[in-house]
Amino acid sequence: MVSDFVLFGVLPYVAMVLFLVVTVQRYRQSKFSYSSLSSQFLENKQHFWSSVPFHYGILAVLGGHLVGFLLPDAILGWNAVPWRLFLLEATGLSLGLLTVAGLVMIVVRRLSSSRVRRVSTIADWIVYVMLLIQVVSGVLVAYFHGWGSSWFASSASPWLWSLVTLSPDISYVAPLPLLVKLHIVNAFVLIAFFPFTRLVHVLVIPNMYLWRKPQVVIWNRGGPAARGGGR
């Protein structure tokens, strides 16, 4: 179907192009706007119960998707024994539910704390709605259309690789249930919307910190900068 082709053969490219072009351009033009925009300062009790479960949950779940994408055979190999399959699936569902719980707390916190409501923008709310659709549909897929860890490796992964190799083969995903399609389409819409929202903070996570010298010293003119600058 043409609509399937647009959703699974065109949208991913549009989303990725938007993602790449806009994030780079935004970084160049408005570096200042790259911030995690933390609101922990305004409210830090509910913050723990929303931010921590959400971030750990979503990172673990995304990591799982990434492994399914990069090493589908490893997943299928692990799943070859039923109890291992069940363990992986139960872990996945736990993390998914953890993410949902965190996200719901995030929304509740944004609504209930007037200080945090003050710093919530329309873009924030769009992000939350899209994330809610994403994680809730993900959990529902895990529950109603198991075992995703297996069929992701055999259905979604080949499709994703066909996208990577610029020869989109949508026959893998076109016949999947509506819920799964929603999950996929919303994911790419999210990627397309990503660079316009606070989500860009994901891209500026500290990576050099672990290796740099503890103290940062910046010299105006020469000075001992030749010796490395820092202490």
């Binding site: 179907m1 043409v2 399937d4 082709f5 053969g9 065109v10 490219y13 549009v14 192009v17 830090n44 009790k45 723990f48 119960w49 921590v52 479960p53 750990y56 299928l76 799943n79 070859a80 024994v81 039923p82 109890w83 399959l85 069940f86 699936e89 139960a90 872990t91 569902l93 736990s94 993390l95 998914g96 539910l97 953890l98 719980a101 895990a142 529950y143 109603f144 259309h145 198991g146 075992w147 995703g148 860890s149 297996s150 069929w151 490796a153 055999s154 259905s155 080949p158 610029l166 020869s167 989109p168 083969d169 949508i170 026959s171 893998y172 076109a174 016949p175 999947l176 249930p177």
Partner: protein, 283 residues
């Protein structure tokens, strides 16, 4: 939806680079047709191998003219609904199973397919004679091997994923089989026996399975074992589509709860405010 490889590449090229590339024309038309037939027709039809879900196509042009056939292939449902007597007879023979309308199938391609059937029918043994399974009786070993193939204990030789990922079969235990595809406990009786089920397994026609199994078909002894296993489940078990789902949900919620408690423990010394406590305690 099937789009020619060149078309796909072209589309991707246009999308990503914005550059226009000249489409390369397919060189070998008959090769394309053969591939199309292999991919879309063989799960229900043989040429000289007997009836599966659909009729054996050997010498089909002697039963109906090429023009009628081409029209039927392009859109079977329309011909049937049009009240064509022969088409209705076909439908009755197939136990009311209507041949699906394949997307992207043009009249031109249908004519080529009919030509292919004519050529293949003339052969002593067509390459589309289908899977020739032994008629030997199914044994306990077959059942056990089939079960191992189902739950992944023994890998399918071609590298295809194990059935458990998407299908429930009674007796799986634990959280049960997958729930993407239908419950297969009684598929043996649903598909009416050994031969149609074997044909199904040899080249799964469902749109979800097709792209996966087209490149990773089951070998004939694997098909036989699966048939044996599914026959045994059809005889002893009954479909339990929701099997294990509740336990799975409970396990997931318990896992999430354990993680939350773990967070609270790991960060039990987290900062919880100084001033308000100080004022409260001093009052």
């Amino acid at each position: 939806m099937q789009i020619s490889r060149t078309g796909r590449t072209l589309l991707a090229a246009v999308l990503v680079t914005g550059a226009l590339a000249a489409p390369a024309l397919a060189q070998d038309v008959s090769e394309e047709t053969v591939n199309y037939f292999k991919a879309n027709c063989t799960s229900c039809h043989t040429i000289g191998g007997g009836r599966l879900t659909g009729p054996d196509l050997k010498g089909v042009t002697e039963r109906q003219g090429p023009e009628w056939l081409a029209t039927f292939i392009v859109n079977p449902a329309r011909v049937i609904n049009g009240g064509d007597a022969y088409a209705l007879e076909l439908k009755r023979e197939a136990k009311d199973q209507v041949m699906p309308t394949l997307p992207g199938l043009t009249k031109d391609l249908a004519t080529k397919l009919v030509e292919l059937i004519v050529v293949e029918s003339a052969k002593e043994k067509s390459r589309f004679v289908g899977l020739q399974l032994s008629d030997r009786p199914l044994t306990e070993e077959d059942v056990a091997y089939g079960r191992a193939l189902y739950n992944g204990g023994t890998a399918i030789a071609s590298g295809a994923p194990a059935c458990i990922g998407c299908h429930q079969v009674d007796g799986t235990g634990g959280f049960g089989g997958g729930r993407l595809g239908p419950d297969l406990t009684d598929v043996y009786s649903r598909l009416e026996g050994r031969k149609p089920l074997a044909a199904w397994l040899a080249a799964p026609p469902s749109l979800t399975m097709q792209p996966i199994f087209a490149d990773h078909p089951l070998e004939s002894d694997e098909v036989l074992s699966m048939v044996a296993y599914l026959k045994s489940t059809a005889e002893s078990g009954r479909p339990t589509p929701g099997h294990g789902a509740f336990a799975f949900l409970i396990a997931g919620m318990a896992g999430a709860a354990v993680i939350l408690v773990g967070f609270d423990l790991i960060w039990r010394r987290r900062f919880r405010g100084v001033r308000r406590r100080l004022v409260m305690e001093s009052k």
